[in-house]
C-alpha cells in the first residue's frame, strides 16, 4: 500500500499525479480523504470541517452545472447555491465564502479576470489573488478538474474537495464520487450541523510562488 498522501501543497512545480503515486479511487458509497479510502459519511464531516475552518471557503461550479443542460443540471445548480448560502450563514466573522464560476476551459487572453472566474489552466491565479484556502470543484469535466487540481496542489496550500459526478479525483485532497443533488444537500446539512464547533484558521492560503 502506498505511503503517499494527497496533502495541501505547495508540493512543487510539477507534482506527480496522485494516481501514479498509488492513490486509488473510491468505490460507490465511499470517498477518499488525503488518498485514504473512507466511508462517505466520514468525508462529509471532513469536508464540512474544512469549509468551516477556512478563511475563504470557495465553491467553483463548472459548465456542467452553470448551464441548464437539462433538469438535473438546473437542480444541481440550485443545490450548489444552497450549499453556498448555508456556508455564508454558518461561518464566523472574518471568514468570506465565495462562489466563483468556471465557465470556460479555453485560455481567454487578454480578457479573463482571474479573480472573478477561474480557468483550469491557471487556477492558481484565482487561488492566490482571492487568498482561497479551501475550495470545492463541482460540475467540472473530469479531465479539466484533474489538471486544475494538480496545479493547485503544486502551487498553493489550498485544500481541494472534488464533488465528482463520475468516479472521483485522486488529485483532490478529498473526493466524493457519483455527485448528485442529494449529496450536495447532505454536505450543506453537515456544514449546518458542525456550525460553531470548528475553530476557523486565522491565516489564509500560502503561496507557492517564488516571486
Amino acid at each position: 500500500m502506498t505511503q503517499y498522501r494527497v496533502l495541501p501543497g505547495p508540493e512543487h512545480f510539477l507534482p506527480p499525479s496522485a494516481a501514479s503515486m498509488g492513490i486509488c479511487l473510491p468505490n460507490p458509497g465511499e470517498a477518499h480523504v488525503n488518498g485514504v479510502i473512507v466511508p462517505e459519511e466520514r468525508a462529509y464531516e471532513e469536508a464540512a470541517k474544512q469549509f468551516l475552518m477556512a478563511k475563504v471557503p470557495t465553491i467553483f461550479p463548472g459548465p456542467l452545472v452553470l448551464w441548464a443542460w437539462n433538469e438535473k443540471a438546473a437542480k444541481k445548480a440550485t443545490a450548489v447555491r444552497h450549499l453556498y448560502n448555508t456556508l455564508k450563514e454558518c461561518v464566523q466573522p472574518g471568514q468570506t465564502p465565495m462562489l466563483i464560476p468556471m465557465p470556460d476551459y479555453r485560455p481567454k487572453y487578454p480578457k479573463i479576470n482571474p479573480e472573478v472566474e477561474i480557468n483550469p489552466n491557471h487556477p492558481n491565479l484565482t487561488i492566490w489573488h482571492n487568498k482561497i484556502d479551501c475550495c470545492m470543484f463541482v460540475g467540472v469535466h473530469c479531465h479539466q478538474a484533474n489538471l486544475a487540481l494538480k496545479i493547485i496542489r503544486g502551487g498553493t496550500s489550498c485544500y481541494t474537495v472534488a464533488m465528482c459526478a463520475q468516479a472521483g479525483h485522486e488529485d483532490a485532497m478529498l473526493s466524493f464520487r457519483d455527485a448528485s443533488v442529494e449529496k450536495i444537500m447532505k454536505l450543506a446539512e453537515w456544514v449546518r450541523k458542525l456550525k460553531g464547533t470548528v475553530q476557523p484558521r486565522l491565516t489564509s492560503a500560502k503561496s507557492g510562488a517564488s516571486n
Binding site: P61, L66, W67, A68, T78, R81, P103, P107, K111
Partner: protein, 301 residues
C-alpha cells in the same frame, strides 16, 4: 434550432461573467436571417480577439461568424496559424487540428456527426490559412474534395506564413519578397480555385473580404451547398498588413486594390449544375417567404 441549448442555470446566473449572459440574451443563435448587419446590434460570436490592430483576418472572422446559417449546430475546424489565436474567443464549437490536418479531421467529424445526430443538421466548416490549406495540408484538402465530403473549406489567403515571420507559401504571388524569403518567389501563385473545381468542389469562390454583404452571401451559399450536395471552397484574401508593410488602416484599401478586374483577387466563382439548381430553389423559397411577409404586413396595416 434556437437558444434552448444555451440556458444558464437560474440559480447561478448572477455569477456568470457578463459575456456569457450577453450571449444568451442577445446573440443571434437560431435567427433565420442572421447576417453581417447584426454586427453592432447583437452580441457577436466573436468579440475581442488577439490579432493585430486592423487585421483584415479579424474582419473576415466577424463576417463569417455573423453569416453562418446555423451557428449553434456548426463545428469549425481550424489549423495552426493566426486563425488559431482567435478560436479561443469564438462562441461556436471548434476543433484545433494538427497543422495541415484540418480537412481530414473535418471529414471524420462530419461523418461522425451524421451518425450521432441523424435527425439534425450539423454543419462543418474548415477555416485555415494558406500554409495549412495549400502547402502542408494540400494532400488532406484534395483528398477530402475527391471523396466529396460534405463540408465547406475556407482558406484565409494572406499569401505567406504570417505569424512565423513571413516565409514563402504556395499562394504567394510570383516575385514577392518577404522578410524570410529574400530571394523572391520563383513560381506562380498556386491556382487553387481551379484545382478545387477540377477536384469536385461544387461551389468555389475567390474574393477579398472588403464587402461584408458579399461574404455573407458566399458563406451562406457555400454552407448550404456543402450540406446538401458536396464540398465547397472559399478563398478569401486577408492580407497580412505587417508582412506587406502596411499600416493598420490600410488593410481595406489593399483588398480593394487587389480585387480590381485585372488584379489577382478579381472575383471568381464556379458553381456546379446541381449547386446552381439548389441556389435557384433557395432563391425561389426566399422570394416566396418575402412575398408572404409583405402580404401579412399589408393585411396588418
Amino acid at each position: 434550432m434556437s437558444k434552448e441549448r444555451i440556458k444558464i442555470s437560474e440559480d447561478l446566473y448572477d455569477i456568470m461573467p457578463s459575456d456569457y449572459q450577453d450571449l444568451v440574451k442577445s446573440a443571434t443563435y437560431g435567427k433565420e436571417d442572421r447576417g453581417w448587419k447584426d454586427i453592432g446590434n447583437s452580441k457577436e460570436l466573436i468579440e475581442q480577439h488577439s490579432l493585430c490592430a486592423g487585421c483584415p483576418e479579424s474582419m473576415a472572422f466577424r463576417y463569417i461568424l455573423a453569416s453562418l446559417p446555423n451557428p449553434e449546430d456548426t463545428v469549425m475546424v481550424g489549423s495552426t496559424g493566426c486563425t488559431s489565436l482567435v478560436f479561443p474567443m469564438v462562441a461556436v464549437h471548434n476543433i484545433h487540428s494538427l497543422f495541415g490536418n484540418q480537412n481530414a479531421i473535418a471529414s471524420g467529424l462530419k461523418r461522425a456527426l451524421s451518425v450521432r445526430f441523424p435527425g439534425r443538421t450539423k454543419d462543418v466548416v474548415v477555416l485555415a490559412g494558406d500554409g495549412a490549406t495549400v502547402d502542408i495540408g494540400l494532400d488532406m484538402t484534395l483528398q477530402a474534395w475527391f471523396r466529396q465530403e460534405k463540408f465547406t473549406t475556407i482558406c484565409f489567403d494572406n499569401e505567406l506564413y504570417a505569424n512565423t515571420g513571413g516565409q514563402e507559401s504556395g499562394l504567394m504571388q510570383k516575385g514577392f519578397v518577404a522578410k524570410m524569403a529574400p530571394v523572391g518567389k520563383l513560381f506562380d501563385k498556386v491556382r487553387l480555385p481551379e484545382i478545387a473545381r477540377e477536384s469536385g468542389c461544387h461551389y468555389v469562390v475567390q474574393c477579398t473580404v472588403s464587402k461584408p454583404s458579399l461574404i455573407e452571401k458566399v458563406v451562406r451559399n457555400a454552407v448550404m451547398i456543402s450540406r446538401e450536395i458536396g464540398p465547397t471552397y472559399l478563398q478569401l484574401y486577408t492580407p497580412c498588413i505587417l508582412e506587406i508593410g502596411k499600416n493598420s488602416m490600410e488593410g481595406l484599401q489593399e483588398m480593394r486594390d487587389s480585387e480590381k478586374p485585372t488584379e489577382r483577387f478579381a472575383y471568381k466563382e464556379y458553381v456546379s449544375e446541381p449547386a446552381k439548381q439548389l441556389l435557384a430553389e433557395m432563391a425561389a423559397k426566399d422570394k416566396e417567404k418575402k412575398a408572404a411577409a409583405k402580404q401579412l404586413a399589408s393585411q396588418g396595416a
